[in-house]
Symmetry: C2
Subunit: 256 residues, 2 copies
Amino acid sequence: MSDLSKLAPTELRQLCRTGTHTGPTAGLAPGILQANLVILPREVAYDFLVFCVRNRKSCPLIEVLDSGSFAPTSCPGADLRSDLPGYRIYRDGKLSEEVTDIREYWRPDLVSFLIGCSFSFEAALMEQGIKLQHVERGCNVPMYRTNIPCAGAGRMQGRMVVSMRPLKPADIARAVEICERFPNAHGAPVHVGSPEHIGIADIMQPDYGDAPVIADGEVPVFWACGVTPQAVVLASKLAFCITHAPGKMLVTDLRA
Amino acid sequence: MSDLSKLAPTELRQLCRTGTHTGPTAGLAPGILQANLVILPREVAYDFLVFCVRNRKSCPLIEVLDSGSFAPTSCPGADLRSDLPGYRIYRDGKLSEEVTDIREYWRPDLVSFLIGCSFSFEAALMEQGIKLQHVERGCNVPMYRTNIPCAGAGRMQGRMVVSMRPLKPADIARAVEICERFPNAHGAPVHVGSPEHIGIADIMQPDYGDAPVIADGEVPVFWACGVTPQAVVLASKLAFCITHAPGKMLVTDLRA
């Protein structure tokens, strides 16, 4: 991993393309924007696009590709069918396969959406001396289903999924200031403290990711999470859908 | 007009609805966001929405309504079919009628797009002591077709239209700083000086709006303009399209 973290985005994508790197992308290409990937048939792409526009904090759109295209303009030379470390294929709203290449699944009616991810603001928080327990422990960030309604769009309806990072009271305002400079990476938190107010019954039992460690006096701070669009897509029980595998993002050429 | 400028957005929209106010909205409801309106059949709405996502400076999306809906969530109680002072109906890419009410034109397949407009940042510039010649002279801002390509989306292809405001060299950097705080109103300028570099042959002959007055030493500063989506829609020669009439915006309930 220490060698991987020094590679340029094009080199990392090449290692994914050849099947050499099939692991997570957290910590790779520091300072570079990483993106969630959602691929849908054209017939449902309009509803999904409207959903993203109406829920920008959960779904900050980096790029929408033309139908059938797998070459994002934000990463010249990249191939979305092979340049991520892993993909999940969903059929009728259920996980069907997890693969490292989707060339054999490709269809001319597929529309690819690149959506910002929290790695960008996490790096900025740590640079400013704000410690993130899940990173220090090498764990996934804890994520929770909430009762916060998303603005629906056609077939796409659902509630927000949030990620949680415990912060010291003295760091919270500064963390908000830092994160609001990253509108392409979910922006400022959506909720501070009181998990029960957003429908989280037990903060120690996340719905996705790993259980947190919250030190005495730390406050749970919640951000809109890129799992939201995935959860909404799955809940809508589409016949076919492809996403990146958890933690295995597209490393773009853009600065975070 | 002096009385109108003191009215709340709901009162202004009511005056439009009853046909009492059919004039421009410049200067009305200070501090409130005004919006461009584009209404398209559902079959072309996807291409237009992707175009907006790919060209955010020209087309800052405030809201996309559901097909057939004329009740924006950003202005509860408003009716997009009657609450603007004027509308233009286009057929096959040509202006067909200019009307003050579109209820008789409404169809269940129409999708309405609200797009930010420059009135928001102009008010902020003037509050900061930056004079705008077209406002002081009671004229429309000059607008120009450029050679700056927009990122195309399906049937929606074209070049950027810009608005121009002459500024003193000492004010330019400050104007950029102020405007970049208004991403919903075209944000920071796209070009400073050298109109010929963006394909403008004669700065004194705008393609839309009124001819400018540029004082000695002032520099022409160019912003992405909300006429861009209208120009692109017209160039694509859609069978049917409705927009607001020039200068006759939707006064929303949102702060600028």
